[in-house]
């Protein structure tokens, strides 16, 4: 029943059957599944349970990710991960994980509606980000698969190096998304990048 209610992304995208898949250089990747996972990495049972559900291992090295088919596990802290799933089934994944971890000291929380991903891709990606991000994102330092939580201009953001185009996915909280989008649009102006029509919040 809930599937029929259209979702709205913070940048104005409305989910529908024919939602355009943006392959542009600056675009929102709305409606992904975002789950926050907390467990003790020393707890082998819990790790194994998660592995069974996800089919991938949780990254234990800070600022790294592991990826499966349309699923990524992102290190957020020594006992905290973000699960980012390409499909739109937060409920099912949430339930599977909760079942797998029931009775253990762990927490799985759905944040899908609370944050979104903005993808920045193309040769000027790093130049744009350098206008507001203090991290060294040079490909020799921040390689595909790496992630970092940091500040982008005046908002917190999670950056994920996707490929060496370079492509960077920027995860931000919902209420900050319009600001981050406006900021990115402004910074990217010199490079001729702008958001597609549907992302005009």
């Amino acid at each position: 029943m809930s599937r029929s209610i259209p979702r709205r992304s913070p940048l104005g995208a409305i989910q529908s059957a024919e939602s355009p898949a943006h392959n542009g250089q600056l675009a929102e990747r709305p409606f992904l599944t975002h789950l926050n996972l907390r467990l003790d990495p020393a707890d082998a049972t819990a790790l194994a349970a998660v592995h069974r559900v996800l089919g991938i291992k949780l990254p234990l090295t800070p600022n790294t990710t592991t990826a499966g088919d349309d699923l990524m596990a992102i290190w957020l802290g020594p006992d905290e991960w973000l699960l980012l799933a390409d499909h739109h089934q937060s409920d099912a994944l949430l339930a599977d994980l909760q079942t797998a971890l029931s009775g253990q000291f762990a927490s799985v929380v759905d944040l899908s509606a609370g944050q979104t991903v903005i993808r920045l891709s193309g040769p000027s990606t790093l130049d744009v980000l350098a206008r507001g991000c203090a991290l060294d994102l040079h490909p020799s330092v921040f390689q595909p698969g790496a992630c970092a939580q940091t500040l982008l201009a005046r908002a917190q953001a999670l950056l994920i190096a996707v490929d060496d185009t370079p492509t960077i996915d920027i995860t931000v909280r919902r209420s900050f998304a319009p600001y981050v989008a406006a900021w990115l649009q402004d910074a990217a102006r010199h490079f001729g990048l702008s958001f597609p029509e549907s992302n005009t919040a």
Partner: protein, 88 residues
């Protein structure tokens, strides 16, 4: 600008962090057993040392972990960082 060495994420610029003053001020186990003076000492009194200083930082915009940094408060040189025992 200080580069704060997060024990997990590595050195990051200080605006990603929250500073929370001197470390090693444990909360008294039984506050009711303390005199007003002892409670005031816990609550307000600080060494505020010139030189080597152990202090609490949280990587707020990063991994959200609290940890301890040792820093020289005159030169701002970072002398080391350590994690809290149990926070894995």
């Amino acid at each position: 600008m200080l580069l704060i060495p997060c024990p997990w994420c590595g050195p990051r610029e200080d605006d990603e962090f929250t500073f929370a003053g001197e470390a090693d001020i444990p909360r008294p186990a039984d506050p009711d057993a303390l005199t007003d003076e002892q409670w005031a000492d816990y609550l307000f009194m600080r060494d505020n040392r010139r030189g080597r200083h152990r202090e609490q930082w949280c990587h707020t915009a990063g991994c959200r972990r609290w940890f301890i940094v040792e820093r020289d408060t005159v030169t701002n040189e970072i002398l080391g960082a350590s994690t809290y025992g149990n926070s894995s």
